[in-house]
Point group: D2
Chain length 339, copies 4
């Protein structure tokens, strides 16, 4: 089978990882070019990865005949528009999460994708992590009985720099971080979230309030099935990248946990100590490879993507409800009809 020509749009930290994975670890693909509004950065990545082509923007990239698929890794704010433009150019798409920052933008993007008849996959890479995959299989096999509670913690180590807030390029907590948990909730519980209740806080970093953001949130979930849940997100826990998910069932519980980064343990008079994984690119390194490789194969064989545009839309819908709930101090139903 011929190699799929792929390009990466946006080569910040995340885009660089996708590009490197495509270049080195996906034999089914040929990484044709990268693009970034910061052309110098695009050039540097192209050089490091020994690519022939790089571009200073999407337009030139989307005109390339040798590109059949595009990985979108621009800032959150531009996801929906980039999906629209890429679809119109007739390219298949792997779009980083979130699909959009509003449901309207998400719907517009999906419409363009549908019209163009291209494949769109949304970048919820955790679904490719061996631990999450194993949990999904056990749940489907009935190992824990009926799922009753969904429980998730997503803590990140470092408070993002204020400049990031000022640029307003990324979605706030519920859209940028909790969105992973919202997707896991739907996927692992195999059902939709009907309503949410949320509190948020700026404690410890009140200055982010100026930018409409928060440092932490707790979101109660009520599923249509009657199951319940809670998602906690926090962006500056200092001690590591701590992602934990539990599915509590009537016969047992599955927990996907936080891991040591190395295998070293230090035993001294002050106790037993080991490190913790510090970054999502470490914790989910293998998942990112599996994700991009599966996307490439999906396009090649023309099968439906494992994580669809609708999945992207529904996660945004939960985030939007969580935001409203935390602002208006009331439970907010989650929108169900895409259009």
């Amino acid at each position: 089978m011929a190699k799929l020509g792929v390009a990466v749009l946006g080569v910040g930290e995340m885009g660089q990882r996708h590009a490197a994975n495509l270049r080195r670890l996906v034999p089914e693909a040929s990484l044709v070019a990268v693009a970034d509004v910061d052309l110098r950065r695009a050039r540097q990545v192209a050089e490091e990865l020994e690519l022939e082509h790089c571009h200073g923007g999407a337009e030139a990239l989307l005109e390339r005949k040798d590109v059949q698929a595009v990985v979108i890794a621009v800032p959150d704010k531009f996801h929906a528009e980039a999906v629209r433009a890429t679809a119109q150019a007739g390219k298949h798409i792997l779009c980083e999460k979130p699909l959009a920052l509003t449901l309207d933008d998400a719907a517009a993007a999906l419409e363009a994708v549908e019209k163009a008849g291209v494949c769109l996959q949304v970048g919820f890479m955790r679904r490719y992590d061996p631990a999450y995959l194993s949990a999904k299989k056990r749940i489907e096999a009935g190992e824990i009985g009926e799922p009753i509670i969904f429980k998730a913690i997503g803590r990140d180590r470092d408070d993002p720099p204020l400049s990031l807030y000022e640029a307003a390029l990324n979605g706030m907590l519920f859209f940028n971080s909790s969105i992973h948990e919202f997707d896991l909730a739907r996927w692992l519980m195999a059902g939709e979230v009907a309503e949410v209740q949320a509190y948020s806080t700026v404690l410890g970093r009140p200055e982010v309030a100026r930018f409409g953001d928060i440092v932490a949130g707790v979101v109660n979930l009520r599923f249509r099935s009657g199951a319940i849940g809670n998602v906690e997100s926090y962006v500056q826990c200092q001690y590591g990248y701590d992602v934990r998910t539990e599915i509590v069932g009537s016969k047992g519980t599955l927990a996907v946990g936080h891991l040591s980064e190395t295998a070293e343990v230090v035993l001294t008079a002050s106790g037993r100590r080991h490190d913790l994984v510090g970054h999502s690119l470490v914790r989910f390194a293998d998942a990112y490879v599996s994700e991009i490789r599966d996307f490439v194969q999906t396009v090649q064989v023309g099968r439906p993507p494992r994580i669809t545009g609708e999945d992207g839309w529904r996660a945004v819908a939960i985030a939007e409800s969580a935001l409203q709930s935390s602002e208006q101090s009331r439970p907010v139903p989650v929108r169900d009809r895409l259009r």
Copy 2:
């Protein structure tokens, strides 16, 4: 110092433990008598512990001149009334949680205590657990900076038998189980809960709905300080007695976790496996001893109890708000004025 004459009212599982601890491990006390509406049970306990006196009810017990303090371990439903009667009899009181099943009952009990001028301590034994004590000290010492999120899981292994529901003797989930977490929230975060949002479910055991109870609940907390939190409770997790609490601060996080019951680990082709603590009387065995001993010493030296009637009242207030929130699907403020 003379030994304090103590009696135990209600010798079910919990009362038996208190009686045994008093008899064997509190040299400052003399266990004078036990009482239970089931006189046969009282007699059996008295025999096992080599006590001279046992009674078939509270009246006879409260008339005893050699009893200066009473441990109340009757079913939840009778706590408030037992506190009232014991206070009127001029005895000091260690009352099992919850103090009452309604705020009005709690207030009436506190009034009687105040009037009688006796000491009342409420049985939130976790405050005596070395792990929780250490966490409290670290928070006070500023080790984790500003507390931002309170997170608690309280799962119990076995679904209580339906007969227990039928007898309607115990408080439902929020009053009987989550109440521990509500107390920890106030104590560890050193501040009051202003409002809660709750969902509950009867999934996996719909028949408990008949008795107005639930099998699981998730309760979001908003503290007056701006901190947020979540309490999850579940009564039939099957795998153990799983009590976990985290206090997430601006500089670090403290977690009080779930423990193995034994030190054995089994390594086979199906992985690495160990057991889990299965019962609160095992997990908090030492805490129960410390609690009862501290209570006895508190009465002897006449100092204020470590966990007051007001603490008991406030935990009930949170439980009451959680119940209302889960029933009315709206955030409910937590009552603040005792009277």
Copy 3:
């Protein structure tokens, strides 16, 4: 059944624990008296435990008619002689490990016991620990197939004070510490050790060499069955009381491990940290209670003790061989015939 009259000879740390357990947690026994060459200490213990009698030595104790059994917790050096004298006085015996510091002394003690027809149990309390008991049962049930390797680590936190060495009251490392592992090896592998190879060191504390002791030893074991093993002992690891035992079988491995002392975990930028059990009296608190209670019941019903004088002798035999091997740099067979 009438209570068994028991006395404790030697009320240092270990004897105090036995006395307290007997007084409080063994309803089948009556703690009649304690004795210690330090009469002041005996008096203090008697007072704390509200005992009527205490003595300044073994003679008075052994003359008491109300004493049917004696717990021997004097320094190691006096174990064998104390067993002999107690047996001659017709009292049943629970003797702390090691039974003796030489095989000849051990044999003499056993002879006296046999002649007197009393019950002798040796204090290998680990056999009463739930984790070790569970491991033993799994091995017997064939869960790990054929036992192939026995592996044990025994590390203690604090270097004993030099005064202890000077007094020469306790056995050196192999007799005082590794002896537990030697007993576990025989018990868990259900077979005898045929030969040992040992190295020892005084590194980190060369001054103990003056007293003929060592700070650490590694002892290879060859079992008669063909199985092999290794025992490591170290007296000053600083970080805790770290006792770990593994039985590696053809189908799986059982590990009895080191535990946290509390359930608290601290998560900060320097990693994940928790404490470790610091003392054998904490790690094996429950085992000591089970041990003494089982001993009392054993005497009452007249059944053979769970850990016999021969078990005590054989553990000493392994220790003696380990000592010779480390001194003579050659493999040393383990003596097999008791007399």
Copy 4:
């Protein structure tokens, strides 16, 4: 800097991994060709990795002008001879462990290397693992005080097929498996092993005795410094690839431990269970990449290799002594002079 032309000799499991790493993850190298006596296998690997050249043996490979360095991953038995031939062809060498199966062969190989003036690195990849590297740094920084005990377990999951024994291509346990631990002992303790005492067994698989091999060994180490240690090796533990190393010091202990393969934990009535790493290629995946990349850079800049031929020789010397000790039942000194 020009890319280094590298070839891989022997593309079994290990050689394939080296080839893939070179092809994909070492930008400083160009993988020119692979060779294997099984030409079909060489061809298949070349195809998978999109290489132009493959060979049916070493001769053709060593004649290639575009090859400056060779990774030797042929069976253990041929290591020494392959090193000799490769050195004579003037190519730099990364040789898988063990360097040889006898000290004489090892010495002959080193002589050829020295004469040819090429760079030889021996494949003790664990020295590149982040956990071992961190431990090494902590020891050097004095964090655990004086190293007193070296402790290592190396267990592999699956008993190698008997055909492997029949072919007699690989070194027996001490040369093929324990050799890693012997190298770690020297490296982490920063000192040489003076003498060893070993026991071995064929329990559980007596048929390997026919081929002169064993299933398990325990090797006591005496270091020149006075430190002591023990290495346990076992080839069929069933439950995983369990590599654990501890360095016990006067102030603390470092443990490099066994890890979960995924982050999933299963909690059911039978306890808490998670998987274990099952294969060295998973456990040390990153170490293999770091190793080969460092080797390439070492050759490029002409610096001495991090793991030298002498390191290879000394590990073989310990293995040879362990074998003799286990066969002759006596302590055996470790040879010190290379020639």
